[in-house]
Symmetry: C2
């Protein structure tokens, strides 16, 4: 196994960091790696806000549901889908690009571009001995996040990435069975097998929690996920995205 594969397979989310900021050189490396990711038709539809200001980090931590590690880390990166740049480009080149930029297709492109870049950043950081945690919680209140970071229209913060020196290492969580996620030539057609895989995984996850919590918790994966999905969450998103002139048609 090479170093790249072992770094990737060794991933776990880190939620406790030392009080030690990243150096500019580390940040430069992480962002350069983000930029090296593939980008759809060379569109480069993202921006990254590196939040260093302590007050801003504190505010972001509150907005993300009082997650301490949003405030306490080495640097907090906010990954944004960015089609504002392309609005400017349209003006510069005197081309009518609005209809494209407002389409669901380009909203998808921007989200994919941003996420590919972020995962490069995450892996690069981990290879430097740093820990990372993705923070979807910033989507709790994107209006406030946008104001705080002075983001223009068509720039949507998708998630944060807390990066820093780990002070506590967590366990890796077992993933779905590979065969449940990877299908050859067509999607699984045998629903009996499909459900059996879920049952086996439920058993595995239940045992994982039981061991880790000394028997206090033993929920199954499907139970945990169905509970989460039965509650509505961030239902303002469609309106927010469309107010930002994206995903309109």
């Amino acid at each position: 196994m090479n170093d790249v594969i072992s770094t990737i397979l060794n991933h776990r989310s880190i939620r406790h960091f030392e009080d030690k900021p990243l150096t500019d050189e580390q940040i430069h490396t992480i962002v350069s790696c983000a930029q090296a990711a593939a980008t759809s038709s060379f569109i480069q539809a993202y921006s990254i806000i590196g939040v260093k200001d302590k007050e801003k980090k504190k505010k972001l931590a509150e907005l993300a549901g009082n997650q301490e590690y949003v405030e306490k880390n080495g640097c907090f990166f906010v990954f944004c889908a960015d089609l504002y740049r392309h609005t400017i480009i349209g003006k510069k080149e005197q081309k009518n690009v609005a209809s494209s930029l407002e389409s669901t297709e380009k909203f998808m492109v921007a989200m994919i571009d941003t996420s590919l870049a972020a995962q490069n950043a995450a892996i690069a950081a981990e290879s430097l001995g740093l820990g990372i945690c993705y923070i979807g919680g910033i989507r709790n209140n994107l209006e406030e996040v946008k104001k705080l970071l002075h983001l223009p229209d068509r720039v949507i913060p998708l998630f944060g990435l807390a990066v820093g020196y780990p002070s506590h290492i967590t366990d890796k969580k077992p993933r779905l069975p590979l065969k449940h996620v990877f299908h050859v030539d067509q999607y699984e057609q045998d629903m009996e097998r499909y459900n059996r895989q879920l049952d086996e995984y439920d058993q595995l996850i239940s045992e994982y929690y039981e061991t880790r919590t000394n028997g206090q918790r033993k929920d199954r994966w499907t139970q945990q996920i169905a509970n989460m999905l039965s509650k509505q969450n961030r239902m303002y998103m469609k309106e927010f995205i469309q107010k930002n002139k994206l995903d309109l048609h």
Copy 2:
């Protein structure tokens, strides 16, 4: 520079592959790496179809706009946002999850999850000496792609990933200036600097094309992108996604 960083920074898209299939072991490693990526609230909202069947690959190549490397490679992976799994989970656990699954928020979560997994797969493949190319062209006709791969509702193919042994290595394309993409504490407020960065990059890209094509081509980046965006593309997407019971509210 460690091996992980150098692998990431060395990325370029490969469009010519040897006629040599990946081994099952290589595929297993690549998919395991994909699965090791972070996943929002443990939701694991993606599936990967590994297309090995020659006829299916040929058909996909046609659908993607006659891109030969979709047919000729070591394996063609189709990365799909998958909330069908969660429809099944809802039934299994007798929870009403439809409203969640139909939300823009969960559509975004599924796209982000899928893309993070894909980038791990891409980096893992490159670390094994393989080349990769993301294929957005499969979004030209998702209805046909879905039929070909027997994908159920709420499974959306986002892009393909052609992986194989490179037979021709291309140049790396210079990215936007780091400072244009990375902003500290707030989005760039100085529009003069913002536009100057675009001008400098235009110059760089123009020279890049000129050198590479012996002077036959010297388009600027903003020109290229504005031209692309002035044409409407895949405008059926919104209707298609919503027909698949996603991004509805």
